[in-house]
Each structure stands twice: as structure tokens, then as C-alpha cells.
């Protein structure tokens, strides 16, 4: 038993969590002059929420190496038992292999997607008819808040980080990420953050209910469930920042010989840009939640107007993060689409450099538009027009990307399999979402539709039809690489068509009822919207069901799918030039990059070669087959 508690692992983690709860209490007890009756319950919960996740990671063993190192003791030489996975149990411990971490990320995020999706189903059940069905208004507020927070902070943002974690080192020809131990910490912070958010349902007064935006003073005066958001977001944010830093260092310092910046696949470019956004913007959301926590827990006055605080300041700080955050939730998807479209159309990406530069343009412009979320907040009115102009301008680089993708497909030999279908689905849906976005940037219009279902429609066209479709495209596309198995193509297509259809039936009518004035974030609505809402609810249940096809396909194919070859798509990028799944350290020899990543259909074009492997001109022609055949 003692041995269990001393060795890193789940037993020690459980023990450490108990320790954290105890120490937090002792801390408060001593801070209150050693009087047990003065220790407030919520105070104890707050301190525990901060300490327990860190102790949990410590118990699992995330910090062991650093503690040895920091105390100047000889660190145990890496035996690499922490690399690779041979059974499912290897996914449940601290593992420093980027491929294992990538899968841990993706699976965990999808777990949270199903949780968030279930909450959506509950909300739609409530909204199926006017009046009260299943939940009272405050429970409804809790549902949509946790739904949005979980899907944003624990699904879309981390699932992209997970895919990139798996793919980037392979794509740039690196054996792992730059800081593998930090990478493991980033991952394990996520289950902690998600657990915290879900625990809020058990808080007295119910879960946090002030939306994913948690505006002050709503959030500073809400019941105690709010702190679960405040603290949960901190951990999710810390995880994002650490991963972004890791990506940037990996991409800058660990590229294979010959892999210049302009030979990098666009997925790498996309995550490079996203990581810049994360490193610069995410600290702002951390700070906004520090303010809320300090106001709530210690009676600070950041947002107390009576004491000289400023409520609007919250919105400025929050949106200075959260507008860039919508690009954090979109740019990695842009990267995935570029990969899939080029491979599935057998054509080079049109305007590769423009694609890279437009990403950087979005990064820069993304910091100049935050107040378009505040048009009706009562902020200084002179900010409005400049923000309207920048918001319209930021649509330009996005437009460039759309036209490049269209030109990439132009006259290509399109292979309409599942990843490609999702890529095309993304293109159409995202254009619709972008149009509603540009409409929203127009002052006279937005003042009319702010806080109506039009916003809900816009959000879901860009986040579901946009981000989630790219995620599906990416998961199907790299599934063979990650698992060594092929997914079932028939089920994949069925999944696409059902999702695509019911998605539109669910969300398109929301534009209409939005313009007609149905307010968002309310459990009840007037009789005139009843028919539409019933239709939307029914469609949404089918949309929910369509996800089960995906789940079944993934599980069944992972267990018993056809074995995948190294390069089933005949792709050029480096991750496809090794076996599926790749060897523990990715490459036995680091490849050398000799050309661009997307020279499909260009005779004799090669992206990377393994030094010392003989290749004939003939072998080089079928894109990317070179190294994978040589390895067999």
C-alpha cells in the first residue's frame, strides 16, 4: 500500500488530492487565527479548487523529474518507459510521447464534446415548446453556460491542440515536441479543468450561469457555482499557453534539414499562427478571471462601481482575449482544410504564400476588433466605427483563403471521401457563417439583432459548421496514421450527410427567428416562435444521434478496422512517409526536405527524402510513396 502511495500513479494522485483538501483547510484555519468555526465553506472550496489539480498532477508524477532536477539530485536517466503506448493503460499515465499525448487530448476532448452535446439536447428539449418543460429558468441558464464553456474551452481549443500535437512533430521531421514533460502537464490540466466545470452542478445555488462570457457584475454577484468557471478556465488557459509555447519552440527550432518556413505544410503554419494568438491573448482571459476571483473571494473592487471600479473594463479585457479566441478556434481548422483539399484534389495549394501570409494577417488584425462584441454595451461610442471598419477588413484575409481553396480544387481530380466531404461541408457552412459575421459587423444591423437567435445562428455556423467540421475532417484524415487502422468509409459518409443535413435544419431557421426578435439565453419565448422551435428541437435530436454513428465508427474501426498502410492517401507530407502508427521516435533517421509540401501532380516532385535510401525517378512520381515503401 505504502509503495502504491509513493510511486507516481493514480493511487498517489488520489492520496495527494486528499492531502490538498486537508492542507487547504489547515491553511484557512491558520489564516483565521486557528479557529475552525471561522473557516468558510466556500473559502475552503476555492483554495481546494486551486490546489487540488496541482496536487493531482503531482500525484500522477507530472513533476517528479523537475523536483529531482530542481533539488540538485541526480535525475534518473530517461529510460523512455514514458514513451510509446502498448496498451490502453499507457494512455492513463503521465506519458511524454507526443503521439500518446495527441491521442489523449483528442479522446478526452471528444468525451467533453459528448457531455456538452448532452446538455444541448436537454436545452432543446426545454425549448421544444413555449413555457416550462423540464428545467426551471436558472437551471437553463446553468445549462447553456456550462454547455458553451465546456465546448469552447475543453473541446474545440484542446482537440485542435491534440491533433496538432500528434501531427506537427511528424510533419516537420522532429522526434518529439521541444518540451515533452511540459506537454504532458498541458494535457493533464485538461481533465482537471473539465472536472471542475462539471462539479459546479453540485455547488449550492447551482452551476455557474452567467454564460461563457461571465460578464461582471453578473459573475461577481452570482452564487458560488461561478468560481468553478473562474478557476476551471484558469487551468484550461494555462494548458493552452503551455502547449502554444511548446508548438512555437518546436516549430522554430526542430524542423528537419531543408524544411524552410515556406516549405512547411499549412497545418504547421496554422498552428504557428494560432500559438502566437494564444501566447499573446490567453493571459488576458486569465487576468479577467483573476479579477473576478479577487472581487468574489477577497472583496476587491475591480468591478464595483460604487467604490470606483469599472464594469465595462471586464468586457474590454475579456473580448481582447475572446475575439482572438474565435481565431484560436478557427485557424487550426484552416490548416486541416488546406491539407485535406490539396491531397484529395491532387493539386498544389493555390497561392501557398498568400495562405501563409493571410494567417499572419489574421493574427495581427484579430487584436484590433474586440469591441465589436460590445456595440450595445454602452461603451464610449467613438470606439464603434473604427471597430466596425476593422471587423469588415478582417474578413479580407479569410476571403483570400476561401478563394485559394476554391482555386485549389478547380479542375482537380476530387476524391469525395469522408475527410473531403467534411472539408467541402466546412467551406459552404463557413461562408454562410462568415456572411452572417460580416452582417453582424454592420452597426445598424447588429444593434437590432444583438442578443437574439441570430447570434446563436452565427456562432454555430462558424463553430459547428466551421470548426467542428474541420475537426471531423482532420480526425478522419489522420485516423489511419494515429491508429494504424482504416475507418469505415460508408459509415463516415453516412455520418457526414446526416450531420450536414440536420445541422442546417437545426441552425438555419435561427437566423430567421433571430431577426424576428427571439432573444437568446432565455428558457421561454413567445407563442409566435413555437412552430420553428419545435422543428429545430426535432432536428437537433437527429443531429445528436448522427454523432453516435461517428462514435461507433471510431470505436469499431480502432478495434477491428482494416490495417492501414503507411500512406493510404498518397500524401507528400512527412507524417505519411513513416509506418502507421509511426515508430516510437517517429523517424529512425531524420528526413531531409527537398521541395514544397503540396506538389501534387507535378512530375518528379518530392517533399522529403530519407538520406541513404535509393530512390529512382519512377518511385518518386507517385506522390509521397518514396519513403514508405523504402521503410517496409
Amino acid at each position: 500500500m505504502i509503495a502504491h502511495l509513493r510511486a507516481p500513479g493514480w493511487y498517489r494522485a488520489a492520496f495527494y488530492i486528499a492531502l490538498a483538501l486537508g492542507l487547504s483547510w489547515l491553511l484557512l484555519w491558520s489564516a483565521n487565527g486557528f479557529s475552525a468555526s471561522d473557516v468558510s465553506g466556500i473559502g475552503w472550496v476555492q483554495v481546494s479548487l486551486i490546489s487540488a489539480p496541482l496536487f493531482f498532477l503531482g500525484g500522477l508524477g507530472a513533476f517528479d523529474y523537475w523536483i529531482y532536477w530542481a533539488s540538485g539530485r541526480p535525475t534518473r536517466p530517461e529510460d523512455h518507459s514514458a514513451h510509446g503506448a502498448t496498451s490502453w493503460k499507457d494512455y492513463l499515465r503521465i506519458n511524454t510521447d507526443h503521439k500518446v499525448i495527441g491521442i489523449q487530448y483528442v479522446v478526452t476532448s471528444f468525451f467533453f464534446m459528448f457531455i456538452g452535446g448532452l446538455m444541448a439536447m436537454l436545452m432543446r428539449a426545454e425549448l421544444a415548446a413555449p413555457g416550462r418543460q423540464f428545467v426551471d429558468p436558472s437551471a437553463y441558464n446553468g445549462l447553456f453556460s456550462v454547455h458553451a464553456s465546456i465546448l469552447i474551452f475543453l473541446f474545440i481549443i484542446p482537440v485542435f491542440a491534440g491533433l496538432a500535437n500528434y501531427v506537427i512533430p511528424l510533419m516537420i521531421g522532429a522526434p518529439d515536441m521541444a518540451f515533452p514533460r511540459l506537454n504532458a502537464v498541458s494535457f493533464w490540466l485538461l481533465p482537471a479543468a473539465g472536472t471542475i466545470m462539471m462539479l459546479s452542478f453540485f455547488a449550492p445555488g447551482g452551476s455557474f450561469a452567467s454564460g461563457w462570457t461571465a460578464y461582471a457584475p453578473l459573475s461577481t454577484t452570482a452564487p458560488d457555482g461561478q468560481v468553478f468557471f473562474t478557476i476551471g478556465v484558469q487551468f484550461a488557459g494555462a494548458s493552452s499557453i503551455a502547449t502554444a509555447l511548446n508548438f512555437l519552440v518546436t516549430i522554430i527550432t526542430m524542423r528537419a534539414p531543408g524544411m524552410s518556413f515556406f516549405r512547411m505544410p499549412l497545418l504547421v503554419w496554422a498552428n504557428f499562427s494560432t500559438s502566437l494568438l494564444v501566447v499573446i491573448a490567453t493571459p488576458f482571459v486569465a487576468a479577467s478571471q483573476f479579477f473576478v476571483l479577487l472581487d468574489r473571494a477577497l472583496g476587491f473592487n475591480f468591478f464595483d462601481a460604487a467604490q470606483g471600479g469599472d464594469v465595462l473594463m471586464y468586457q474590454h479585457v475579456f473580448w481582447f482575449y475572446s475575439h482572438p479566441a474565435v481565431y484560436i478556434m478557427m485557424l487550426p481548422g484552416f490548416g486541416i482544410i488546406s491539407e485535406v483539399l490539396a491531397v484529395k484534389s491532387r493539386k498544389p495549394v493555390f497561392g501557398y504564400r498568400m495562405m501563409a501570409f493571410s494567417l499572419l494577417a489574421i493574427v495581427i488584425l484579430g487584436f484590433t476588433v474586440w469591441a465589436h462584441h460590445m456595440f450595445v454595451s454602452g461603451m464610449q461610442s467613438w470606439i464603434r466605427v473604427p471597430m466596425m471598419v476593422t471587423t469588415a477588413i478582417i474578413a479580407v484575409p479569410t476571403g483570400i483563403k476561401i478563394f485559394s481553396w476554391l482555386a485549389t480544387m478547380w479542375r482537380g481530380v476530387l476524391k469525395l471521401d469522408t475527410p473531403m466531404l467534411f472539408a467541402l461541408g466546412f467551406l459552404t457552412m463557413f461562408v454562410l457563417g462568415g456572411i452572417s459575421g460580416v452582417m453582424l459587423s454592420m452597426l445598424p444591423f447588429v444593434i437590432h439583432v444583438s442578443d437574439t437567435y441570430f447570434i446563436v445562428a452565427h456562432i454555430h455556423y462558424v463553430l459547428f459548421g466551421g470548426s467542428l467540421f474541420t475537426i471531423y475532417a482532420g480526425v478522419y484524415y489522420w485516423f489511419p496514421k494515429m491508429t494504424g487502422r482504416m475507418y469505415n468509409e460508408k459509415l463516415g459518409k453516412l455520418h457526414f450527410w446526416t450531420t450536414f443535413f440536420f445541422f442546417n435544419v437545426t441552425f438555419a431557421p435561427m437566423h430567421l427567428i433571430g431577426v424576428q426578435g427571439m432573444p437568446r439565453r432565455v428558457a421561454d419565448y413567445s407563442e409566435q416562435f413555437a412552430n420553428w422551435n419545435m422543428a429545430i428541437s426535432i432536428a437537433s435530436f437527429f443531429l445528436g444521434l448522427s454523432t453516435l454513428i461517428f462514435l461507433y465508427n471510431m470505436v469499431a474501426s480502432w478495434r477491428g478496422g482494416k490495417r492501414a498502410t503507411g500512406n493510404p492517401w498518397n500524401a507528400l507530407t512527412l507524417e505519411w512517409q513513416v509506418s502507421s502508427p509511426p515508430p516510437v521516435f517517429n523517424f529512425d533517421r531524420i528526413p531531409t526536405v527537398v521541395g514544397g509540401p503540396y506538389e501534387y501532380g507535378v512530375p518528379g516532385a518530392v517533399h522529403g527524402v530519407f538520406e541513404g535510401v535509393e530512390t529512382t525517378a519512377e518511385e518518386r512520381q507517385p506522390a509521397g510513396a518514396v519513403a514508405s515503401t523504402a521503410k517496409e
Binding site: 514513451h83 519552440v249 479579477f291 462601481a305 502508427p581 516510437v584
Partner: protein, 203 residues
Amino acid sequence: MEAATVHHHHGPPEANRSSRIHPALLGMLLFIISEVMVFGAFFTAYFFIRVVVPGAEWFPFDGFELPVAVAGVNTAILLSSSLTLHWAQVSIKNGNHTGLKVGMLLTFLLGATFLFVQINEYATLTREGITPQAFAQGTIFYGLTGLHGAHVFIGLLILLVVTIRAFRGHYSPDHHDGVEVPGIYWHFVDVMWIVVYTTVYIL
């Protein structure tokens, strides 16, 4: 997969170095960018409380005053710790182990003194009625200086680790990244203090 595991690797193949900058150094610089942004958000709050709020006033007001001079001396103490740190770094580059040890120790002590003086200042101000709970000016005063203080505290922990390792002889003239990289963090903490001191106490 199998073949790769039985293959007797003694670790991953060396990654190609595609940039001259050391990964740990780059990581630290990016981390500092993040940190600057955290401070940026706190300065935004400061700006709102001091400038945007209608009828905003700043210290000294209503008889509430900040100890500009004491904090000035404290600033000098913190800045001198950057000098001793620099001296320690130069020493190890030249193989002077004693210089490294003395330099690190001095840096640590100066940093600790700074924190000690600041905590005393908090105690005094609290007695005078300047608390974060009293008014928003107090909130942001403690917010900004406290955020910085937390960084000093973390910095001290890091310095402590470096000092311990220095005494155990872990560094040498061609192996001193472990002094360089934490050093950058400490210098950052110092520079940040100058900004905080100027905006909060002087301007």
C-alpha cells in the same frame, strides 16, 4: 511498431536544430511575452480605474498617500540584484565558481529583502486604511504590486534552485544555460518593477 520497440534505442534521435536560438531560451522569451500580457491586463484595469471612471482620482487623495521614497529605496535594492546576478553569470562564464556562488547568494538575499520591505509596506498601508477592499485605487494598487510580488516570489524560488545547484557544482564555463535562462526571468521581473513603480507611485 514492434520492430521499433525491440530496436535498442537509447533515446530519440537528435532533432535537427533549425534555429540558432536555444530552445529553453526561446521558451523563456515566449513565456515572458505571456507574462507581459498578464501585466498588460492589470495595467488595463489600472487605466480604467485611474482614467476612465468618471471622477477618478489617484494617490495622494483624501489623505491617502503612498510611501514613494521607501519604495524608491526598495527599487534600488531590486535593481542592484540584477547587477549581482549579472556578475554571477559573467563569473561562471569565466570559470569563477566562487563568483557564481557569492553572486547568486547576494541576488537571492537582495530579492528577499525587496519582498520583505514590500510586505512591511502592505502592513503599514493597511493600518492607514489603504486596503484593496476600501476603494478601487487600493484594489489596483495591491493588484499590480501583488502580481509583481508574486513574480518576485516565484523568481526567488527559481533563484534558490540555481543557487543550490551552483553550490553543488552543476555549472561550468561551457554549461551554464541553467544560470542564463532563469536569469532572464529575474531581469524581466526587475524591468517590470520599474514600470509598475513608475506608473503606480510616481506618475
